[in-house]
Structure formats: structure tokens, C-alpha cells
Symmetry: C2
Subunit: 347 residues, 2 copies
């Protein structure tokens, strides 16, 4: 015989809504509505308290599967990133995760390179009722996934990348970041500025590059030389070597990624170019690590956690039936000045 004080329900240990209703002396319907704060419920204050108390006492957790089935919503979101080990994405994840949790949603993370086979299964997460919508940080505008999402009517937003005309883009002001970097260098007296860019098929990389060219043009600089490389230390190093084999006269470098910048520092060193005496360096994106490099790196700090939060908000808006629209995180890119930049007046 089980102890009289057992707080478990009858069926296999799971506490069900029925158990809560019973203990509170109300019907399932009322219990459900009170627990979910459904509009138009007007029970007595005392009844409400009893229900909440019963749920609390019993440790009731609504079965998400049952709820998903009945209400046709999973209360979960998925974030797709190309690379979990890339600090950019881990910070976006953090913001998205926190905000989702605040809103009562679970967050599922899907890692997969663009165009990877797993990528095409993303919409299935929604078809299978596992999640209600997708935060896509892993696709370019021409990826097949983009049209699939649209065709299948899957709620989604693009994070940190823009698919033109989608009205679903949640981005940061990357153009402003590039402009800020160029302005900072110009203020220091630099007139010949180069850019180490990322691969052209990575949308945010291209945005930085475009922003750089525009900023140079608006500043009246004669040229805006660029070398591209993968988003890795090695990629940054090699691109830098290639860059200087062609553009000897550049006195400052704006680099698309902190990771690339670490490689660039190595490349510069091997070319016997001192930072900042011979070449000033500014990197896009800030991390504590930047302060510990040699020399400590001047960076443009970006609001990546906020980007993740904003993306979640935007997707939730969509799920609430409101029309989707592009959003740009309001926080301005900010120059974090360290020791990799110095004045230059010899032009």
C-alpha cells in the first residue's frame, strides 16, 4: 500500500491537469484556463489561488506534447547556426536562448554548414511540430532553404544576414560598423586603408566589405583595397600576406573578424611590419580576448547578444500573427580603442 501522503498522481507518476483540478476542487477546463491565463476567465480570487497552489503543491508541469497536439503550438523555437564554436554565433545563441526562456519558449539549436544535407531537414522541425518557428543564422539568400521556408509557410526570421525583400531580416548596423572603423582610422590621419574580408558567399562578411568600400568612397579616399580569406586565423594570415604583396603603401587595416585579425597579426609580424607603428589594425567584433593580444587590438564592439534577443522577439511577433518586418538592432557599433591603432600624419 502506498503511503497516504503520496503526492503522485495515479498514472505512472505523471501529474496531470486532472490531478490539479481535483485537488483544487474545480474542473479541468477551469484549471487549464486559469493556469494559462486565458482571456475571459473570471473565477474568484480564492479559487484562482487554490488552483495555482494545487499546481505548485503537486509540482505540475503541463505535458508539452499534449499541449502541442491540442493547441497546435510547440512553445519551442529552433536556432540554426553554421558553427557552434564560432564565438559570434555562441553570443547570438545566448541572447536568443535567454529571451526565449523569458517568454516561456524552449530553444533548440541546430548546427550545420550552409548547403549541408542536414540543412534541408530544418523545415521538418516545424512540420513535425517540434518547434513553432526558425531563427536562421546559417543561410545565404540563394540557399534552397530560403525558398523552401517561404513555400512551406514556415515562420522564420534571418539572423545576422539579410535576404533582400524577405521582410524577415534581423541585423545589426554593419554598414555603420565599417563606417565607424574607417572614420576612426581617418581621424588618426590614415589615408590608405585596406580591408581583410571574409568569403563573399557569407552575407555578413559581404556586408562589412560593402560598408567598407562605401565608407572609403564617402571619405574621399582614392582606393579601398581588399583581400579575402576564410574566417579562421589561417585565413586571416594568408589574406594579409596576399594583401601586402600587392598594396605596400597601406598604413591601416580593417579586418572582418577577430579570428582573422589574430592571423593578420601573425602575418604582419612575418612581414616585419610593426603594429601600430607601421600598420594600424582595427577588427570587427570585440571579445575579452582582444585585450590580451599583442598588441591589444582596437575593435568595433557589436551587440550580438541583443541581436539574438531581437531575433527571438521578431519571430515571436510573427507567431502572434503580426506582420513580419526587417529590424535593425538599435545599439550603435562602438570603437573600443586599444593599442593596435596610432596616429599617422605623414601623408
Amino acid at each position: 500500500m502506498p503511503p497516504a501522503g503520496s503526492s503522485r498522481g495515479t498514472a505512472g507518476g505523471r501529474i496531470r491537469l486532472t490531478d490539479v483540478a481535483e485537488r483544487a476542487g474545480v474542473t479541468k477546463s477551469i484549471a487549464s484556463r486559469v493556469l494559462n491565463d486565458s482571456p475571459g476567465v473570471s473565477v474568484r480570487r480564492e479559487t484562482r489561488r487554490r488552483i495555482l497552489q494545487a499546481a505548485e503543491d503537486l509540482g505540475y508541469r503541463a505535458h508539452v506534447g499534449a499541449r502541442a497536439l491540442a493547441a497546435a503550438e510547440a512553445r519551442a523555437l529552433a536556432l540554426t547556426v553554421p558553427d557552434l564554436t564560432n564565438p559570434t554565433y555562441s553570443r547570438i545563441s545566448r541572447g536568443a536562448y535567454q529571451r526565449a526562456r523569458e517568454r516561456g519558449y524552449a530553444l533548440l539549436i541546430a548546427e550545420g554548414a550552409e548547403q549541408e544535407s542536414g540543412h534541408s531537414r530544418l523545415p521538418d522541425l516545424v512540420s513535425a511540430g517540434r518547434v513553432d518557428g526558425l531563427l536562421v543564422a546559417s543561410a545565404g539568400p540563394r540557399d534552397r532553404i530560403v525558398s523552401q521556408l517561404e513555400e512551406r509557410g514556415v515562420p522564420h526570421v534571418f539572423v545576422n544576414r539579410a535576404v533582400p525583400g524577405s521582410g524577415r531580416n534581423v541585423t545589426m548596423d554593419v554598414a555603420a560598423a565599417s563606417a565607424r572603423a574607417v572614420a576612426h582610422l581617418r581621424r588618426l590621419g590614415h589615408r590608405r586603408i585596406g580591408h581583410i574580408a571574409g568569403p563573399t558567399d557569407i552575407v555578413p562578411a559581404r556586408a562589412r566589405e560593402t560598408g567598407f568600400r562605401e565608407a572609403c568612397r564617402e571619405a574621399g579616399l582614392k582606393s579601398a583595397p581588399v583581400a579575402r580569406g576564410p574566417f579562421s586565423e589561417e585565413g586571416g594570415c594568408e589574406a594579409t600576406l596576399r594583401f601586402f604583396s600587392r598594396h605596400r603603401d597601406v598604413s591601416a587595416l580593417y579586418i572582418s573578424t577577430l579570428t582573422q585579425a589574430i592571423g593578420a597579426l601573425r602575418g604582419l609580424h612575418s612581414l616585419d611590419l610593426r603594429v601600430p607603428d607601421d600598420v594600424s589594425v582595427v577588427a570587427f567584433d570585440d571579445l575579452p580576448l582582444a585585450a590580451y593580444l599583442d598588441p591589444p587590438l582596437t575593435t568595433i564592439a557589436m551587440p550580438l547578444v541583443q541581436l539574438g534577443e531581437a531575433a527571438t522577439d521578431a519571430l515571436l511577433e510573427q507567431l502572434a500573427g503580426r506582420p513580419s518586418r526587417d529590424v535593425v538592432v538599435p545599439t550603435e557599433p562602438r570603437v573600443v580603442e586599444r593599442s593596435s591603432t596610432s596616429p599617422r600624419s605623414d601623408h
Copy 2:
């Protein structure tokens, strides 16, 4: 009137098992059993093919909520980590995610510092039927969560940390890693070796420290001096300064984390101690970044992706009803020699 060729089911666009069964000319029961490869189904090869084909044609995805409700399993796992931006955890996540996907499970990531309020809600993920079990990489042996998990009968394993006696620990051979580091330094002639450790309440940090002390003792070294600091560049830098204010005669340092090592390099520099001429440095854990530091860092490479995979395997074993047991990832820690270590024969 809808187009005749419409492939959608009748109810709200969702393709249901019924739709598949109907198209294949079989009952729901058979369709379900064939699709799930249930044991003891012996339909004709042709029938099986028809069912699979119908599912394929229709783009059928079983509703996970319905399945969770009926079969009492969510086919999802949750991984809890203290910090998503820590590369250690992102690599564990990658391994866990990949393996989960291979096995047909979704992976949910929960980020939260130890002892945080959100932490106590972890078991709810299981109570609510959202996931079937937990991969816990975020708790110490004395955290309340540990006993809660046990009491509530939640399937779980501990990843990269050991809760003694739990029989649920999935770890790497950290003692071997520390031993390898000490052996490497000894082979180079070092007799006075120090350790920059992490906080004592972080289990894997303590394991490294303990392994270090033991290795020193077994090697017959007189002492095994240690300074502790947080897992950050700053923490590593300050601990290093503190260390050398007390132990001037040490010629080599084994550092608990690559991040701390970056700070240590800075600390050493500010003390006018050259690496490796004055002090050799070995860091636990390898990343591409290590090769680009100044000087390139000698490290102990750890199988973190495999650790994530092994943890998923272990949890899935548990879910299959097999008894849980501690597992240590078989891959041996490996010294990656770069330029931060050099011979020393002056003792």
C-alpha cells in the same frame, strides 16, 4: 475548388499518418509499425515499399507531440552548459548534437551558470515531456540539482565532470592529460613546474589540479606549486602574477585552460619573463588559436567532440533501459608541441 492534384491532407495542411495509410492502401496500425520499424511486422516487401513511398510522396513527418503523448517519449535530449561562449562547451555541444541527430533525437541546449535559478528548472524539461533525458555539463557534485535529478528519477549523465558514486559520469582522462603535460616538461629537463588552476568548485578544473599534483609526486618533484584564478584571460593573468610573486624559481607552467594561458602570456610578459627562454608554458586543451599566439603555444589536445558523442551514447543507453555506468573517452590526451616549451638543463 482546390486543384485535383493537391497533395495536402484535409486537416489544416498537416499530413497525418492516416493520409499515408490511405494512399498506401493499408491501415494506420500497419503504416505506423512499418514507419517505425517495429519488431514483429511482416508485411510483403511490396506493401512496405508502398508505405514508405506514400510517406515520401506526401512529405510525411510524424507529429512529435502526438508521438510523445502516445509513446511516452519525446525523442529529444537536453544539454546543459554553464557558458555557451566557452569553446570547451561549444565543442562538447557539437559532438552531442551530431550524435543525437544521427540517432534521430533533437538536442536542446540550456545555458545557465551553476546554482542559477534556471538550473532548478532543468528537471522540468523532462517532467513536461519536452526531452527524455539530460546531459549535464553544468553542475558540481554538491549542487542541489544532482540530488533532485536522482530523486525525481530523471534519466541523466554528467558530462566532463564526475559525481562520485553516481555511475553516470562521462569524462576524459584528465589525470592522464596532466601527467602528459608534466612528463613532457620533465623530459625537457624541467624540475620546477607550477600550475595555474581554475576555481576549485569547477570539477574538471579540480581534476586537472589533482592530476598535476599526483604527476609531480610520482615524478619525484619536490613541490607542485599552484595558483588559482577564474577561467578567463584576466583570471589567468592575475593568477600568474600572484604565482610568480611567491615562486620565483619555477621554469615551467602548466595552465588549466587555453583562455587562462593567453592571460598568463601577458602576465609573464609584464614580469619580463620570456617564453620559452625563461619559462616554458603548456596549456590544457588545444584550439587553432593556440598556433597563432606569441609564441605559439604547446598544448594538450583533448577529445571534446568525442566527449559529447560519448555522453549522448551513454544517455541513450540509459533510455534503452540498460544500466548506467561511468565511461571515460578512450582517446588519449596528446601533446601538441609548438614554441612555448624548450629544454632546460640548468638544474
